[in-house]
Symmetry: C3
Subunit: 267 residues, 3 copies
């Protein structure tokens, strides 16, 4: 336990490793071998292989719900073994660990980095360091040591600059908002990049949401606003516009997915 | 830790949220932000979307294996955002938290409720409360506070009545037992609603189990009773009749699933 | 906590139970009811039904990353309810619990057994013991008691002999190494049974790896060695030869899977 902490340290895990192999279990083993008091919570491991963007969105939508002091470990790392940087980012409330490929970037737009450290001190790596599984040999190992109280500065030197993601951005021009679907959730709901703030001043009851050739009238508060099987547009629990079907799948109903265009007009 | 408790509190989680999103991780984050000492065990998150019945059966078959004092949190909630009640139920050994839609009802037939509380005190919710993810904003938050020692009565007022599930019930009439398949497990085994008690007085060795157009002679003790690839009927580890195939899938072999009729006759 | 232990005991879990049922949750419940201080880490539960070989390989590749004292619980048990033995194996650093069907055997080639105990003392089982779910009623129960400090000798009598797995072994004859694919991982990478040691003395840069009708020149250090979409052969993070495609699936690309032959020649 770190000095001054009342509670055992917490590590969150977000990867594209899936659950059919032992990758996630080994990251946990490495953390616990270094710091048996550490606690670990899975955010998600079913991110599509190499899908940095989905992981970045998940991290953005997740990190702030965790207790202060949580170490967020995000490993979607198509460049493993290349010269991409391995980072530890310190913010006011959290630590973030991961490759410098954009996976941390959306979260760090919401939570300003105080210090970015390149993980170069191999003393804190698991040896030998493989070139194919640094989630285990570098990132989990660093998370374990950090959780055990090793000061962040020991892991490497301060650096600047963070790889950003080139994401499509929703825009409002005149009376029209244009955005797109960014992912499909488990229930077939379509999450979009249209944030709540963009809708300010819009009369939600009269808005017309257009997706593919379908028109949805009004932006509702809950799935219950529409009869079963009917499309509904609402502000999701992550404060972005979502297209859903009560007790059904909007994705299947519309044949829509990441990239599908959405426009909103005043009704 | 609650006063008088020797061990950290335990929350079990049962949802239809799946593991491809961050829903489950966020429920855990919320619990741990409120009570960092809490421990959390997953019962299952791969319940089919909105499948209240499957979740109710899983909870019924699971709750009693947990330590006394466990807080069972079951969120399969197609009515999220509607006026369905949100409940905390106290029994002699456990707490149960979930929507009042039947998901708790099978467990609470086995474990009598001492007190039912409607979760109305928004002071213990995560703000703002979304109308689409109350698993995070209401249920996990209440579980966190309860685990941290807040008395149950603080979360709302006592109410009566619990939504029940309309489940098909197995019956015995003369020498014939009639029931049906209620779910298929990972191995393709067919779980039925025919409880062990219904078989009392039956000569198990001579019983004839009829499913689709197939006849299985005898009710065995284990999968090993039949040669590989052959159908076997047995009493499962949850004390109901199960149809299996040793080293195979009874579901695939019979083309059977939830709703398939089963009859048992004296041989 | 066991006498003399500074940290809470740790149990690792490896099964073919999947995550769509409550099997894994119930094993954890049983462990925690016996020892609420115990910690539990999942290695993997998505081993194919009854796939003892895959589980044995996963355990072999995982156990050594865990803290000393970890209790490794591996339940892939097609013979459940038969007379196959139920074992607890003590080594210098770890405990292993599981059925005597080979699932423990690959790990125990790397970590010599000091004592093998047949789990025969039913006093430490969960009653009644089912003949279909001994992962819960026997193995988890024993792990709970062992983690709580019950000496291993109390669970049964010492026995000898361990069921071995008949695995294909890679061989080197003259200048040619012959082996085969043993599993496909989440990313479509092909893991083989050709260990790093077999390659000693080989010039890795000039080696020719032949799989199906394709030739891969050189054994690389990382996925980055080849352009996107191209086949690459490398030594995996588990020290065996692996065939991969950078940002793609070698399995899909080659139509290869467990059993596919691999040969390596001097280039």
């Amino acid at each position: 336990m770190r000095p001054g902490m009342k509670h055992p340290p917490l590590v969150s895990l977000l990867t594209d490793f899936g659950l059919q192999d032992n990758f996630v279990g080994l990251m946990k083993a490495v953390i616990l071998r270094i710091n048996p008091a550490c606690r670990i919570v899975d955010i998600c491991h079913e991110v599509g292989p190499q899908d940095i963007r989905r992981a970045a969105l998940l991290l953005e939508n997740s990190f702030g719900y965790f207790p202060e002091g949580t170490i967020h470990l995000a490993v979607v790392d198509p460049g493993v073994g290349s010269r991409r940087r391995k980072l530890l980012v310190e913010t006011r409330r959290y630590y973030f660990i991961g490759p410098d490929n954009g996976v941390l970037s959306l979260a760090l737009k919401k939570e300003r980095p105080l210090r970015v450290i390149e993980l170069s001190n191999s003393r804190f790596f698991l040896k030998p360091v493989s070139d194919t599984f640094q989630g285990r040999d570098v990132f989990a190992s660093i998370a374990g040591h950090l959780s055990a109280g090793i000061p962040a500065g020991r892991f490497g030197r301060r650096v600047t600059g963070l790889q950003q993601l080139a994401l499509p951005i929703a825009r409002r021009k005149g009376g029209v908002i244009s955005g797109e679907v960014v992912y499909i959730d488990r229930f077939g709901n379509l999450a979009t990049n249209i944030g709540k703030a963009l809708l300010e001043g819009f009369n939600r009851k009269q808005a017309c949401v257009c997706v593919k050739d379908r028109l949805i009238r009004g932006i509702s508060r809950s799935y219950q606003a529409a009869p079963k099987g009917r499309l509904v547009a609402l502000i999701s629990s992550f404060n972005t516009l979502e297209i859903a079907v009560a007790d059904g799948s909007a994705s299947a109903c519309l044949g829509a997915g990441p990239g599908t265009k959405i426009t909103i007009r005043r009704g």
